[in-house]
């Protein structure tokens, strides 16, 4: 997966320094947010799943419109509609998509992307 910062930069009016800071911050915070999602799925509360999946979607949507953002939205809807049986599968898909995105964001956050 090759992440492209174009959409983020466009929304930020071209502020590359801020875009890199946001990427680095998301890389730092993502494990905690993903842990919240794991705990909610393990706890089996549909409302908790809806809430934390929504929060995760809002944060990751700063960087991507599909992939992990779309899966988090599907998980949010599973919580909203009380389809708890769907949650573990969606969580596994979310973890996989995030695992692909994070290395790209880490490189961008360090400012290495232009050099590569």
């Amino acid at each position: 997966m090759q992440w492209n910062p174009e959409a983020l930069l466009d929304r930020l009016g071209g502020d590359e320094e801020l875009a890199r800071q946001m990427a680095a911050l998301f890389v730092d915070e993502c494990p905690n947010m993903l842990d919240d999602v794991r705990r909610a799925v393990a706890g089996g509360s549909a409302d908790d799943i809806r809430r934390v999946a929504h929060a995760f979607k809002g944060s990751v949507a700063n960087f991507v419109a599909d992939g992990p953002a779309a899966i988090a939205l599907a998980l949010e809807h599973a919580g909203r509609d009380e389809r708890l049986a769907d949650a573990p599968t969606l969580l596994a898909r979310l973890e996989g998509a995030v695992a692909e995105l994070i290395p790209e964001l880490r490189i961008y956050g360090r400012g290495d992307l232009c050099a590569s």
């Binding site: 466009d10 929304r11 930020l12 009016g13 502020d15 801020l18 800071q21 946001m22 911050l25 998301f26 915070e29 809430r51 929504h54 929060a55 979607k57 809002g58 944060s59 949507a61 700063n62 419109a65």
Partner: protein, 196 residues
Amino acid sequence: MRILIADDDPVQRHAMRTQLGKWKYEPLVFNDGKQAWQALQEPSPPALAVFDWNMPGMDGVDLCREIREVPALAGMYIILLTSNQEQKDKVVGLESGADDYITKPFHWDELRARLRAGERIVTLQQTLAARVEELQEALVNVKKLSGLLPICAYCKRIRDNQDYWTQVEKYLAENSEAQFSHGICPDCLNQQLAMK
């Protein structure tokens, strides 16, 4: 101008703090609605606010509803942020007391433009409130002059609130915007000339 921010997303908070600072605003940033609500209990709270809808504890919609219950915060201009995109969500957000609504992820120029619109409204409201206060003070003076004034039937002095008899022109000068220029009327002029 100070702007109150409440958002549980650390990435969004950082971006908000950076961008608002760049735009010469003074952001007061909180992690959730409860902290923002506590900040609003302090004297002179900010008149402009950006709240995320979904936050643990007290969310943005709850915050809007609480704020609209407080007369002192009635003039506060609130922009609600959310990734909810359904039409009914927008209606719920605005009916909770928000003045404006932006769907995430948004273009930051759009937020800037909406903040400017909010700032114009807040400034206009503050100007109007100051004008109303001035008019109320003026009305008090008008009422003073419209009451029953005790006046001496002979020397025409007026008794003031301190029970002191004062000249008509002095009394009016102190209790109105009127100013006096002294002259002599034709009758008095004739009387004075006849006396000489």
